[in-house]
């Protein structure tokens, strides 16, 4: 505890002098050092934006209670996600990550808020902008980054890459736009069939929302009352095409027609959490599927190949960053309600930075998968078999 306080006051002193501010006086320093966690507000209630509803009598509550522990955890996770994605951007530009890389920065409140509204025993599936969910579903930064760099320590041993990461009750990471939606409903069918009171969160973007297979899925999920929360992450652009240019109706929360829907502020982690809890309750009570549209924003382009400024202005991006950044919003709420201190949050930042650095170090130094892993994992639970190589004389070995 003493060590911790010493670190905090050193950091504060250091920061203060770096910023050119007046050195904290001896007296003030003593006051800072004496501050304990008992001084912080243990929990506070926040007003959250009202959700537009479709085919629902009422929506999620207009207030959310946030405890200090929850706040610090959401902050840490969102910051980890943010730093991880920015680090990946760096590694991509250095050509250490290759191929597809779809970054999630800006959308952190969605992944973190959703996970806060469900249990790890529930199920989740998303599309290709999946690094954030891999983290919330139990993946480590190390194994995520090592997968991006294609190393043997990657979460898929280097064989999947950015779009194909899996953990328990997390079904990827899916490259084909929209295909994950029927899959998610299938997972929900299994949940209902096996009777374990679990549900499936099934995510897709504003671009995918026009896919036919999604409407086929709405129909079957509704007919069979599958415990499925459909979530449209509307970040306003499907690759380079704005929502107005792609959809005859941009009210994505209504597109489920006979499925009740909510339109949620996806930049506010508390709003997302409360909506998810509301939706989960709906599903678990046997009412069938429900649809949530999260209004969110991605700072990066569609992928690392897209600078992201040919179809939107830098001003727009900057405006979202300054007015609606999910991490800033949470930070401001916590600080202005005395739920955490600046130093404390800075310390989390330092820890996060270190975690990312370590992970990046691992991801760049871990060896690539061994060549004799090339043909493995074709079939599960099968005896070893031979796989033809590039020529008839090359016979490669494949084990399950």
């Amino acid at each position: 505890m003493r060590n911790m306080l010493a670190i905090i006051s050193n950091v504060l002193r250091g920061t203060a002098s770096r910023n050119g501010a007046e050195l904290v006086s001896e007296g003030a320093r003593v006051v800072v050092s004496a501050r304990t966690y008992a001084d912080f507000t243990p929990q506070a209630s926040f007003d959250i934006k009202k959700c537009d509803v479709h085919k629902l009598e009422e929506g999620p509550p207009l207030q959310a209670v946030l405890t200090r522990e929850e706040g610090l955890q959401y902050y840490r996770t969102m910051q980890t996600m943010r730093r991880m994605e920015l680090k990946s951007d760096q590694l991509y530009k250095q050509k250490i990550i290759r191929g597809f890389c779809h970054l999630y920065d800006g959308q952190e409140a969605c992944a973190v808020g959703i996970e806060a509204g469900i249990n790890l025993t529930d199920h989740l599936i998303t599309a290709y902008r999946a690094h954030g969910y891999t983290l919330t579903r139990g993946g480590t930064v190390r194994e995520i980054m090592a997968e991006l760099t294609g190393r043997r320590g990657g979460i898929a041993k280097g064989k999947g890459g950015s779009m194909h990461m899996y953990t328990k009750h997390f079904y990827g990471g899916n490259g084909i736009v929209g295909a994950q939606v029927p899959l998610g409903a299938g997972v929900a069918l299994a949940c209902k069939y096996l009777g374990k009171n679990e549900l499936c969160v099934c995510l897709y973007g504003d671009g995918a929302a026009n896919q036919g297979q999604i409407f086929e899925t709405y129909n079957m999920a509704s007919l069979w009352k599958l415990p499925c929360i459909f979530i449209c992450e509307n970040n306003k652009y499907g690759m380079g095409t704005s929502v107005e240019r792609a959809a005859a109706s941009t009210d994505y929360f209504k597109r489920g027609d006979f499925i009740p829907g909510l339109r949620v502020d996806g930049m506010d982690v508390l709003c997302v959490r409360e909506a998810t809890k509301f939706a989960a309750e709906h599903c678990r009570s046997g009412k069938g599927p429900i649809l949530m549209e999260l209004q969110t924003y991605r700072y990066h382009g569609h992928s690392m190949s897209d600078p992201g400024i040919s179809y939107r202005t830098r001003e727009e991006i900057q405006e979202v960053r300054s007015k609606s950044d999910p991490i800033s919003m949470l930070k401001d709420r916590m600080l202005s309600n005395n739920m955490a201190s600046v130093e404390e949050l800075k310390e989390i930042d330092v820890e996060v930075r270190k975690e990312i650095e370590d992970a990046a170090q691992f991801a760049t130094t871990d060896p690539e998968p061994p060549l004799d892993d090339l043909c493995n994992h074709i079939f599960y639970n099968d005896p070893p078999m031979e796989v033809r190589g590039t020529n008839p004389w090359t016979k490669l070995k494949s084990v399950s």
């Binding site: 999947g160 194909h164 295909a179 029927p182 299938g186 997972v187 079957m220 994992h377 008839p392």
Partner: protein
């Protein structure tokens, strides 16, 4: 010896019934499989016995319900997904290949997909171009899938049970014209644990002069052709592939090294087909040096399937085509 006569349809029905009973994670979904008893009555009686939870009628939305089936398999169930015909599987082919076949590999072994896609494949009678395509070559092309093509009732029973018990995606290509054909089945084959291994061909008829390799309904024609040829002193060794992928190249090679001659017979189109793969393997393998004549393929005609009976009859191999090709190969 105890034999009973069972049609291919009934063999499939019994296999599904037994596997549904054996493992409660197994369920069947598809169009008309429940209350209609199956478009071709293959699932007759199953809904009455197992109910709505396990025998599910779907709307006419292949991409959607195939995806749902794959998702259910990922989450711990063992679905049998029926396509009313494999022609309709084209609507869902992305789910079969990208969601089912490739996932175990992409996840480096974390996520398996124990699913069976089954239904009638290939030419029928008078159903014209959009309903007559053979998909053996298309699905046989893809790593991560097992592709099975039964001929007899015994094949249907043993291979479907193996497919359902297999922990991987299996494409099970039936044939509508074979559903009503009865076969004699041994007592042994009636056991609830009678399984035919996927990936092993069967020699249906032994012979020394030429190897004739086929799958599905064409095996019947090969045997009929072999009977005619036997009267002229030509003894064909007829091999029933049973599985398209993994292909039992060894069985074919062993036979060719004995007979020195090879033809393949299939209902599908010639280009980039099952026969093409077999011939390529023979070229690349130990049996090439034993060939006394080039190996040839007997296939469906390279056209969309016409409707008029005389045209349709001439669009698929007939017994006379097989006989002709055998004789040409032997005289080469």
């Amino acid at each position: 010896m105890f034999y009973i006569r069972v049609t291919v349809r009934d063999a499939l029905n019994q296999a599904m019934d037994e596997e549904l009973e054996r493992d409660e994670r197994v369920f069947l979904l598809g169009e008309e499989v429940a209350q209609y008893d199956g478009a071709y009555k293959v699932s007759r009686g199953l809904w009455k016995k197992y109910g709505d939870k396990r025998i599910i009628d779907t709307p006419i939305t292949e991409m959607g319900f195939a995806g749902i089936a794959v998702g259910a398999a990922m989450a711990g169930l063992r679905p049998i997904c029926e396509f009313m015909t494999f022609n309709f599987s084209m609507q869902a082919i992305d789910q079969v290949i990208n969601s089912a076949a490739k996932t175990y590999y992409m996840s480096a072994g974390r996520q398996s997909v124990p699913i069976v896609f089954r239904g009638p494949n290939g030419a029928s009678a008078g159903v014209a171009a959009q309903h007559s395509q053979c998909f053996a070559a298309w699905y046989g092309h893809c790593p991560g899938l097992k592709v099975v093509s039964p001929w007899s009732a015994e094949d249907a029973r043993g291979l479907l049970k193996s497919a359902i018990r297999d922990d991987n995606p299996v494409v099970f290509l039936e044939n509508e014209l074979m559903y009503g054909v009865p076969f004699e089945m041994s007592e042994e084959s009636q056991s609830k644990d009678f399984l035919i291994p996927i990936g092993k061909a069967k020699i249906e008829r032994q012979g020394n002069h030429i190897t004739v390799v086929s799958h599905s309904r064409m095996v019947s024609l090969c045997l009929d052709a072999a009977a005619v040829l036997a009267k002229e002193g030509i003894e064909c060794e007829v091999i029933n592939m049973r599985t398209i992928r993994p292909l039992d190249a060894e069985a074919i090679e062993t036979s060719v090294m004995k007979t020195n001659h090879l033809i393949t017979v299939e209902g599908g189109w010639p280009q980039f087909g099952v026969g093409g793969e077999i011939l390529a393997r023979i070229m690349e393998g130990p049996a090439f040096n034993y060939l006394d004549a080039p190996a040839v393929r007997v296939t469906g005609v390279d056209i969309p399937m016409p409707y008029a009976k005389i045209l349709e009859d001439n669009s698929v191999p007939q017994i006379k085509d097989i006989i002709f090709s055998v004789k040409k190969t032997l005289n080469a």
